[in-house]
Amino acid sequence: MSAAKANSLRSGPDERGRFGIFGGRFVAETLMPLVLDLEKAYSDAKADPAFQAEIDFMQRDYVGRPSPLYLAERLTEHFDGAKIYLKRDELNHTGSHKINNCLGQILLARRMGKTRIIAETGAGQHGVATATVCARFGLPCVIYMGTTDIERQKPNVFRMKLLGAEVIPVTSGTGTLKDAMNEALRDWVTNVESTYYLIGTVAGPHPYPAMVRDFQSIIGQETRQQMMEREGRLPDSVVACIGGGSNAMGLFHPFLDEPSVKIYGVEAAGRGLETGEHCASLKGGTPGVLHGNRTYLLQDDDGQIKDGHSISAGLDYPGIGPEHAWLHESGRAEYVSATDREALDAFQLCSRLEGIIPALEPAHALAFVSKIAPTLPKDHLMVMNMCGRGDKDVFAVADHLGVTL
């Protein structure tokens, strides 16, 4: 892989944790020394070959990496255009890409001598992945989850409890992901000495957006290598869904300096961008400051944060990682959206044609693929990140399709 060049798009963030104007460290003073400690600890760990070796070992033997790059022949045939490859991160242990990041951060927390792990979760995938690594390394784990999300993601709540985590219902606000994140921050500010906050996406104060991206970049690095082996060249486009944007950032980052590779991020358009009931922070939001960073947010005329809506709890966040905000403004990546309805259609299509039941999150990415692939030539190589499997969603999907189980 080419090293980051002087004018590289891969060199961010700057020393203040900024990607252009986005990112930063907008946290209370109590947390500021912790955030600075974390930055130092991560920087030291990154420079330590033993740390990387430990991650590599666990990624292979515990997570099951590398995940395959799979040529989806029947989808390709169906769309009759671009050649569709799926990066199979849904085959990871715990069923999504979330474990990539959790593994890196739990090893860092151990290095820092932290004895208690907290995390927020929306759909529960990050909560399950966090509870999993905490069980593996014997650390107590507290997961904050909104009451609305607990109701719609019961199987994941039970999984977390089986794994030994304590799940704390968050009733403040509207009981969704942003409220869970507020509550996790309140815990962290109270338990500063012992506690490591394991953030699940490429958001939060610096260094989280860069660190989570680094841990997720294994997705793009593998894709690059696998595509070279398979086709002898880079892909022409890469596509991923975006809530906070960690799976997308992980896929995109190793390709940022390759201008021939088109980059598409797919936001959740919910009931349609025009209805206002969506989670498309870039297409339907404006810049603001929340949860430690400046980025695009869903907010009203007074700067109050609005609740998003999506059929997918994992995309239901009113912000987006600051690096995506920067890639959006610079034009390097193109951000598009897919509605609940389109995602449901793609969910069923993928199940029937490929025998892969996708999570509702990557079903949004596939919905976009289904629009663009037919317009592209047959030698166009397109990679979509299948970032999670759909087992968790079958009840919700049945409900939406009017099927009683």
Binding site: A28, E29, K178, D179, R186, V189, V192, T286, D302, G303
Partner: protein, 279 residues
């Protein structure tokens, strides 16, 4: 230029007593009740007023102040209405300092320059913005100081001696010492630890040091007032406001008066603290 805050702390120092600093959320539970409480605070003994700018996601606040923000927003509070409350207050009181306290996003959304112009016009004296550490000083702190406002910074138990100078560098008016690691309205601090911490901060600055987080009773307020230049009470007052709301959501008649009676009891604790200690 001497600000109302600087004048007030100088006057209190001359009188040999600590400042009683009160916090309420603007527009809680509605604009009129909130104004009734606000305008009565000085005669109930408040020396400095912190007025919360409501925000949907108050990450550093406990349940009491979270709920107050929600009540205010439900009744239609906005940044413009918060500034209007200050403006109306100033028509009857040109001496009591008002510090706006809250989070950065509503300010950023209005635009920093616009916000500062409007805040100065309304008669605001200072700002406390929880999620703007010194690392982000160029965002609001430096422009606010240029506009003639005080920028009051929080110092916390995690702010060690190495970091204190950076935290104090652009701080003006007073230093707000957060006596515990935690959210507003949680555990109460030990007066002895507070005295040590205040002494530590005073080795680095000549600014007055006010102490807050977790002060709930007149006795605790008095303890803090003996150890610091000011005692801040927020959640306890906000809880008193919450008690004025019926089960059906209506505000009881005479709400502001009863809240102010409670404020007066806290003020008495602070104001007599040192006199009692001297006897």
């Amino acid at each position: 230029m001497t600000t109302r805050l600087e004048k007030r702390f100088a006057k209190l120092k001359a009188e040999g007593r600590a400042a009683f600093v009160t916090f309420i959320t603007a527009g809680d539970p509605d604009a009129e009740t909130s104004f009734g409480v606000l305008k009565g605070l000085p005669s109930a003994g408040a020396d400095v007023i912190e007025l919360g700018m409501p925000f949907t996601d108050p990450m550093a606040d406990g349940p009491a102040i979270q709920a107050s923000s929600q009540r205010a927003l439900r009744s239609g509070a906005t940044m413009l209405k918060t500034l209007d409350l200050v403006h109306r207050f100033r028509e009857g009181d040109n001496e009591t300092p008002i510090v706006l306290m809250g989070y950065y996003n509503p300010i950023y959304h209005m635009g920093v320059e616009t916000f500062l112009t409007r805040a100065c016009e309304a008669g605001v004296d200072g700002l406390i913005v929880v999620d703007l550490p010194p690392e982000e000083d160029d965002e609001l702190c430096v422009p606010a100081l240029k506009a003639g406002l005080n920028f009051i910074r929080l110092a916390t138990p995690t702010t060690d001696d190495k970091r204190l100078p950076a935290v104090l560098a652009n701080t003006s008016g007073f230093v707000y010492y957060v006596s515990i690691t935690g959210i507003t309205g949680s555990a109460s601090p030990e007066a002895r630890n507070v005295a040590e911490s205040v002494a530590r901060i005073k080795r680095h600055t000549s600014l007055p040091v006010a102490v807050g987080f977790g002060i709930k009773t007149p006795e605790q307020a008095a303890d803090i007032a003996r150890a610091a230049d000011g005692a801040v009470v927020g959640s306890a007052i906000v809880d008193a406001i919450a008690r004025e709301i019926d089960t059906d959501g209506a505000v009881k008649s005479g709400a502001a008066e009863r809240v102010l009676t409670f404020v007066r009891s806290l003020a008495d604790g602070v104001h007599h603290a040192r006199a009692a200690a001297a006897e």
